[in-house]
Symmetry: C2
Subunit: 243 residues, 2 copies
Amino acid sequence: MLAVQSPFARKLGAFVALSDTELSALDRLYGRRKVFPAGRDIVHQGQSAQSAYILASGWVCSYKIQTSGSRQIVDFQIPGDFLGLRSVLFRTADHNIEPITQVEASEVPAKDLFETFSTMPRLATAVLWAASRDEAMVVEHLVGIGRRDAKERMAHFLLELGARLKLVGLGSATGFACPLTQYLLADAMGLSAVHVNRVLRELREDDLLTFQHGQVTIHDLDGLVLLADFDKTYLDHDGPLLR
Amino acid sequence: MLAVQSPFARKLGAFVALSDTELSALDRLYGRRKVFPAGRDIVHQGQSAQSAYILASGWVCSYKIQTSGSRQIVDFQIPGDFLGLRSVLFRTADHNIEPITQVEASEVPAKDLFETFSTMPRLATAVLWAASRDEAMVVEHLVGIGRRDAKERMAHFLLELGARLKLVGLGSATGFACPLTQYLLADAMGLSAVHVNRVLRELREDDLLTFQHGQVTIHDLDGLVLLADFDKTYLDHDGPLLR
DNA sequence: CGTCGGGTTGATAACTTTCAAATTTCGTGG
DNA sequence: CCACGAAATTTGAAAGTTATCAACCCGACG
């Protein structure tokens, strides 16, 4: 085992038990470390993409814009997450990626990625796994928007976010720091910003949680889980699935 | 090249140029061919899954049920599509799969799948690709539910379905046969069945399309594309992306 | 025939958006 | 440290969209 593992290696290791050879191949994948300022898109819809990124610090969101101008945020990425894998696979980006805060990310050139896959099949499988977990999150998001009302949706979203942050050491059972504005929340949940505001107030008045000053504080975890019908099994599992 | 390719091999071949060796490895993947009657679930949420399936004929849907009882259909699968890949990767199913019509599908045991991945890395990459295309469809679905009103949503959905069916030779520019009930449509689009009915009537009254007696007939393709803000680039590309 | 799963329609209720305006927060330069 | 402007949050009222409830129709099928 290498002494220090990157968050990304740790994540893949949760799916596939990785050998030292594979771990160091992973390390070599990392290209230049880049810094992006908040607000300016890293990737544009339709742009051809030669690199993916692995997020080291900061938050980003991936979203799609419609010609009408409205946008839907598909997901937020937090440290350890892979950015733009799909864009690399398809050569061109089908979505935008915007840093919400300042962001540090390591570039992973497409060429290196494919070469590594062909020599280290287990790594390809591990990435397939990670991609599938991402898909599971998108599916859960879809269910949320399709079949939960605004309040349940918000509760579910914040619970999921909290669970993910806890996995990478950025949150606890009582809350977490959250740089998302109500506009971002609205675009993620398919609501208007005004309604997001009202829903947050209701959750506060119900003594379920408080989201103020960039801080989410959970007052009644059980109440939230009940309200949101939250089931976190899709987020975690114990130990590598492939040995 | 093998004389006859399965729909699945054809689909993977669109992503990665496959050698004869790889093609015959794919063929060996196919296990027993099974037949499922309409209506009885093939896979249940929470069930442990040892096999995936490749759909040979018929339609199925994957959906999630909430404890409240409402359900959200995540996607419909048509011949050539992979079923339950995520369930196999995670050992347990996070969604249900229900045949809408009678269905024929080939079983793919998890063990064989992983063995094939480890000896044929390019196949693993190809499957990663196919999984990513599926994710792109889920993302588009998410955008539809989050940011399109009922009419746009329906138009977009039927356009996408038509495009997919055309790819496997089951539809044309003027329409396609469609076994979906208004209840299924409602669960897929996050609407009530009653509203689906109204929306279909509006589309008919606008001379855009007719959906009656299991047949979708497109009257005004351009009008629909305009209404739905439809962009099919995420569904197709020309030739294998990896040679 | 009678029933049952779809489909269709109208009336009403619920939820969410939009518009408009006030208030607070926060970073920056004086 | 304070003032200022921009961005974010908050609230009310009115309008719009979609759900729900309740009927009724129709064709398939035993």
